[in-house]
């Protein structure tokens, strides 16, 4: 059996490990347009602040490919997939044959049309290792940085470079930061925390026009800067899959087995859309754990095994300057909020289920909440009022707990 994986990040690794859990002998080829062995993309902000280095960013040990018998084609770009001839064409003209293929093509930064953007000399995205290296090289203690986008990427970038630059300003069209994961109240708490670190925000605003080192805002304000980071959002890389005839919505459509609409073609990670079990809708859930789990699921199924991943939910764990935030699920339903001076907690329930939560400041044992969402645990089967106060196993019935702590341990997707 010949397996080909296009892409070389978490979903690809999950796929390799999934294949190898079933098939030790088939050939596995990984094609990546990046020149690096697999590294952790979310760590690029930690790289900039010195909390990690390139060596420690390796997502898997150096012998990962060798041990798993993976042929890896680095710095090679796949430009087409022919599902009938079962070949991948590379930019170099080479043809790589496959029996089963995984699209783990990820996403790319979305840069909206902005007037005068071409006049900006130092402008960067913030997604890949090369982005971080290039941005890092452009920074000095005197650099004034403008970040367009107050989402996860923009703010992680801000944290990563805060200690290395003179000032950071963040502009976002939304009226609050981290709008995709936080409600207004939680967002305000995090914003205040970031502001204490000297990061300035222009929210509900956008850049009307760049002129060299100045951004003119719609509100009329002006922000002088030396370096621009555009972190407005990302778009899934679906072109190859679409070209191969796969059904593509916002991302490549996959089922619980990570299969696309075309036989023998699979997809996983940020390039896909999948069912969010908290809303029942198909969404792009671009977070690393989902990428790995979808990749692994794909790998097992590609190799002839049986695996379903049907517990995908949005979830994020992120910290800024020591303030930790964990969120999961969706927020439509009945909300229960508990605040202290330094913490914020919101649980959202609907139809006897926990649907989502936000924890800021105190994130201890958050996984117990996540598990309630993922496992769709009916709240009337546990002591919800107890678990609401604090995530704890005491909230479960004694026999359930006995199974958890005394039974065979086997919990995953």
């Amino acid at each position: 059996m010949k397996y080909v994986i296009i892409g070389n990040s978490a979903a690809a690794v999950g796929c390799v490990e999934g294949i190898r859990s079933v098939d030790r002998t088939g050939t596995v080829t990984v094609i990546s347009d990046e020149p690096y062995p697999v590294y952790s993309r979310p760590l690029i902000s930690y790289l900039l602040c010195g909390k990690t280095d390139e060596e420690h960013m390796k997502y898997r040990p150096d012998d990962f490919y060798r041990k798993n018998g993976v042929k890896v084609l680095l710095g090679r770009k796949a430009v087409g997939v022919d599902p009938r001839r079962k070949t991948v064409s590379l930019e170099t003209g080479e043809q790589v044959p496959f029996d089963r293929l995984l699209f783990a093509t990820g996403s790319h930064p979305f840069v909206p049309p902005m007037e005068g953007l071409e006049s900006v000399e130092k402008k960067f995205s913030f997604m890949k290792l090369d982005d971080a290296k290039a941005l890092g090289a452009a920074l000095s203690e005197k650099t004034r940085v403008l970040i367009v986008g107050a989402g996860l990427i923009g703010l992680k970038c801000a944290e990563g470079i805060r200690g290395r630059v003179q000032s950071i300003a963040v502009v976002d069209l939304a009226d609050r930061i981290l709008p995709s994961i936080l409600d207004a109240e939680g967002s305000a708490i995090v914003r205040r925390h970031l502001e204490k670190q000297g990061i300035r925000f222009a929210l509900g605003d956008s850049v009307a026009r760049f002129t060299g080192r100045t951004a003119l805002l719609k509100s009329g304000g002006k922000i002088p800067f030396d370096v621009l980071v555009v972190a407005v959002g990302v778009r899934p890389n679906t072109r190859l899959a679409a070209g191969a005839g796969c059904r593509v919505g916002r991302g490549i459509a996959i089922d619980g087995r990570s299969a696309t609409s075309v036989p023998d073609l699979y997809a996983a990670g940020d390039c896909c859309e999948c069912r969010d079990i908290t809303t029942g809708t198909d969404r792009i859930l671009a977070v690393l754990p989902n990428a790995y789990l979808q990749g692994e699921t794909a790998g097992v199924n590609m190799a002839g095994g049986e695996k379903t991943f049907d517990k995908a939910i949005p979830m994020n764990s992120i910290g800024f300057f020591g303030l930790h935030i964990i969120t999961a699920g969706s927020y439509e339903g009945e909300a229960w909020v508990r605040k202290t001076e330094s913490t914020y907690k919101k649980l959202v329930t609907k139809d006897n289920l926990l649907k989502g939560y936000i924890l800021i400041g105190d994130v201890a044992r958050a996984g117990i909440y996540t598990s309630l969402i993922r496992e769709k645990t009916p709240l009337d089967t546990i002591d919800y009022e107890l678990v609401r106060e604090k995530p704890q196993l005491m909230a479960f019935a004694a026999d359930r707990r006995a199974a958890m702590l005394g039974g065979k341990a086997n919990v995953s997707d």
Partner: protein, 143 residues
């Protein structure tokens, strides 16, 4: 593989497992010296009161979601033990987000996580919580 199992029927809520854990991972050879006037950060935590109580530590799942979710590749399975590479961990707490047992916690300095590694990472070599449990509520065995 041998794992730590907890039977709440025999847990007395004495919290000795927490102190034995903290001592085992202190690197010290004398418990009083290691823990005197120190706030402990054990990797096993007792829930409950003296009527119902039980200790919770990493279950070392066969199919560990923390390992699969780790954004840094800092968690791995070594001989069945879910192991943390302290140097790789950046303290993003994604493992805390996903662990259904709530058995992963921030390390005392907050810069990384910590979790039970069955004392394979310290001089004890066998789970100190088990050895010190006065009532057989925590056992280390094959099931």
């Amino acid at each position: 593989m041998k794992r730590v199992y907890v039977n709440e029927k025999w847990c007395l809520g004495c919290h000795l497992c927490e102190y034995n854990c903290a001592f085992a991972n202190s690197g010290e050879t004398d418990m009083a010296g290691a823990l005197k006037d120190v706030k402990i950060h054990p990797r096993i935590r007792v829930e409950g009161d003296n009527h119902i109580s039980f200790a919770v530590s990493c279950r070392h799942c066969d199919d560990p979601i923390c390992v699969k979710s780790c954004i840094a590749g800092a968690l791995s399975v070594r001989n069945g033990v879910v192991h943390r590479d302290r140097d790789k961990c950046v303290g993003c707490y994604t493992c805390i987000l996903v662990c259904p047992y709530g058995a992963v916690m921030p390390a005392p300095d907050g810069k990384a996580i910590q979790k039970c590694e069955l004392c394979t990472d310290n001089a004890f070599g066998e789970p100190a919580c088990v050895k010190g449990c006065p009532n057989g509520a925590i056992v280390f065995e094959e099931r």
